[in-house]
């Protein structure tokens, strides 16, 4: 993984000193809340319902064992002994005290981490495919380019006060596990005829209010032009993006109002005009960063049948919670944060420390966070799988439900977030309870539920096969159900199927929906494929059949 050099370290250290001073001035009454807010946000600090929330950056989801151990330690000492992993591969602490935050940031800097630009109207943490570097279908490892973008976007003098937040994702595979098409900029790695690396550039995707799928700006942007082109896009957006209405300030609104052709024209003109002053990405710098992401020193192993002679429980875990690896004798292992009865994405300090230690022993001391709010041990020898499973079981991290209905994504919702309209955590629990039978889950197969507590769509409900959106109706929590969304290589936005339902009706409604699927599916057909084939009508009828339409 990438290691800081003197520049990287000096920058985070100086950032900590700056924020320590800003926090002191705020607590002393020298900086008003209005003046302090943009500063604290750019250091990951929200003021939430109960307490500040600190969002720690995990660049493109990659952590060393030492870093995860530090996160466990920070959550224990400065929070309530747990943290929440997000869809953008970051970690949130829900209960730190404002006065402790500079100290937390200093300790993060000591392990080459930070919380810079994890909130606020600026370029956020760059995200990537969690199978980067090991996926069999990969064009190239996207992480060196994520790291380059991370550095370029960090404290960018021109683009730190944008009209709105700005999210960039890079995928190295055609199967877009990074959901790049619903990012402000989505970069998909490609190779040209000579084998040169470049990107298909999409702009203007995003969820939240008025969800949109990104449109192609450039079919192939050569790697050397990456930073100058990003600067041109950001500059056009910084100048012309709307600042009068928060809900219309994302780049997708600008792209839509100009149309992709005119927006592209403006960006290309800006790109030409700024060539002499734009950031250059040299081949030497690319090589420097790429060197940190060389393949691990794998042993020469043969593929083995790790399941031979094992019990059914292990077989189920192997089937659902592990993935193929490019290198013979290895497999990728999910650390499941979706055990039934648990908040999706939450992890205790004890669990974090255990996984850090496990990774140290069996996966080159590296851990990844995933878009779906789980962790991944990317490089586990197949011979160790059984022992790894036993150990994960001991810590409640081996629920064999990855990719199934209860491996759902959920934002923290009304319990924590001051933006939310409705709770998500108790709804998640009610879904877990209703679908607690593993055989039933396996019969339903691959199915994604994504749930957000408000329009901001942190839970990506628009691209869930089944999307759940919390809405406020006269002070009560209601839920809109949508169907048909997806984000993996075939991006589609779900459609709301009917009136919203009460909290206690969400799980039963979902059950009625999946029963329609069970009735209509063809042999071996996935839920999302049945929805696409038969359309929404049968699901609409089924979902509300036993249920009086809501007001």
């Amino acid at each position: 993984m990438y290691r800081y050099d003197a520049l990287d370290q000096a920058l985070v250290d100086q950032r900590v000193a700056e924020f320590r001073d800003q926090t002191r001035r705020h607590l002393a009454g020298e900086l008003s809340e209005e003046q302090f807010k943009p500063l604290r946000l750019r250091n990951g600090l929200y003021i939430q319902r109960h307490a500040p929330m600190l969002r720690i950056a995990i660049p493109y989801g990659l952590l060393s064992s030492m870093q995860l151990t530090k996160l466990a330690d920070l959550a224990l000492r400065f929070d309530r002994g747990y943290g929440h992993f997000t869809t953008r591969q970051n970690l949130q602490l829900n209960w730190p005290a404002l006065g402790d935050v500079p100290q937390i940031l200093a300790e993060l800097a000591s392990v080459q981490m930070h919380a810079i630009q994890t909130s606020g109207n600026c370029v956020r943490n760059v995200t990537a495919d969690h199978l980067a570097g090991i996926a069999p279908d990969e064009v190239d490892d996207p992480r060196p380019y994520c790291e380059i973008i991370r550095q370029w976007s960090t404290l960018n003098p021109e683009f730190t006060y944008l009209p709105r937040k700005f999210k960039i994702a890079v995928t190295g595979s055609p199967e877009d596990r990074a959901a790049s098409e619903v990012h402000d900029i989505g970069l998909q790695m490609m190779r040209d005829a000579q084998g040169g690396i470049g990107f298909t550039v999409r702009v203007g995707g995003g969820l939240g209010r008025a969800p949109m799928i990104g449109q192609v700006m450039r079919e192939f942007l050569p790697l050397g032009d990456l930073l100058s082109y990003l600067e041109a896009v950001l500059r056009v957006y910084n100048r012309h993006g709307r600042r009068d209405n928060l809900n219309k300030a994302r780049i997708k609104v600008l792209v839509k109002s100009l149309g992709i052709a005119r927006f592209r024209e403006q960006v290309e003109a800006e790109w030409q005009a700024s060539a002499a002053h734009a950031s250059k990405l040299t081949a030497a710098e690319v090589e420097r960063v790429r060197a940190f992401f060389r393949p691990q020193p794998y042993e020469t192993l043969e593929d083995i049948d790790a399941t031979a002679g094992r019990d059914n429980a292990f077989l189920a875990w192997y089937r659902y919670n592990t993935r193929a690896h490019r290198v013979p004798g290895y497999r990728a292992v999910f650390v499941c944060l979706k055990a039934h009865g648990q908040v999706p994405g939450d992890m205790t300090s004890k669990q974090m420390a255990a996984v850090a230690a496990l990774a140290e022993r069996v996966s080159f001391g590296l851990v990844r966070t995933t878009h779906s709010q789980n962790l991944l041990l990317a490089d586990v020898p197949q011979r160790d799988l059984y022992a790894v499973w036993r150990e994960l079981q001991d810590f409640g991290l081996a629920m064999p439900n990855i990719g199934t209905l209860t491996d759902m994504i959920a934002c923290p919702g009304l319990d924590f977030c001051s933006l939310a309209n409705a709770g998500t955590l108790d709804v998640a629990k009610s879904i877990q309870q209703r679908f607690d039978d593993l055989d039933y889950l396996y019969d339903l197969g691959e199915l994604e539920i994504k749930m957000s507590g408000c329009m901001n769509a942190c839970g990506h409900h628009h691209v869930g096969h089944i999307g759940v959106l919390g809405v406020d109706k006269h002070g009560e929590e209601w839920y809109q159900i949508s169907l048909g969304g997806s984000a993996n290589g075939f991006t589609a936005l779900g459609e709301v199927i009917g009136p919203s339902v009460r909290k206690n009706e969400v799980a039963p409604t979902i059950e009625r929906i999946v029963e329609v699927y069970r009735r209509l599916r063809a042999e071996g057909e996935r839920f999302i494929d049945t929805v696409r084939r038969v359309g929404l009508d049968p699901f609409r009828e089924g979902a509300y059949a036993a249920h009086p339409a809501a007001a």
Binding site: A6, L7, A10, L11, Q14, R15, A17, E18, Q22, L31, E34, Q35, K37, P38, L39, N121, Q151, W152, T154, L155, N156, P157, E158, F159, T160, Y161, L162, P163, L227, R235, N238, R239, R243, A273, S274, A276, H277, A278, S279, K280, L281, E285
Partner: protein, 159 residues
Amino acid sequence: MRHILRRREWVADQWRYLGEEAAPGAALIVPYAQLQADSQWLSRPGPLGVRLAPVDAVEDLTGLLPHLSLVAVEFPSPGEGRGYTQGRLLRERFGFKGELRALGVQQDQLFLLARCGFDAFDLTQPQEHEAAVRALSRYDVAYQPGAAQVALRRQRFFA
């Protein structure tokens, strides 16, 4: 007497904003919209400066630049970011060599503004003299190319 931070030193501001009491021939800063509406400003005796609002397009200013000794860019709120681009464009694309002043900023913005080419600051809290000077040296490293207003020990990407 207003003081501003110019090239790392607190100095008495010799400029007046239009609407402030000004002797004939005093250095005067006129809003861009008014300068555009009335070319007589250009023949007024004394140094002339312009004041840009976030919506003003710097391209439109190019014909006027030879007449201007100062451009003041407004930052009406802490989150307003268009001025950073206006500053960079004025310096890099249009070669403006006069005083580039950020108007209405707090010390926490100074480092990035200086990297965008600003060399003078009219602060909202002008009593914080030492802190504002220190803020210009808050970082001695940066990833991106930028103006030479602050000395850097290390920089990653170059233009």
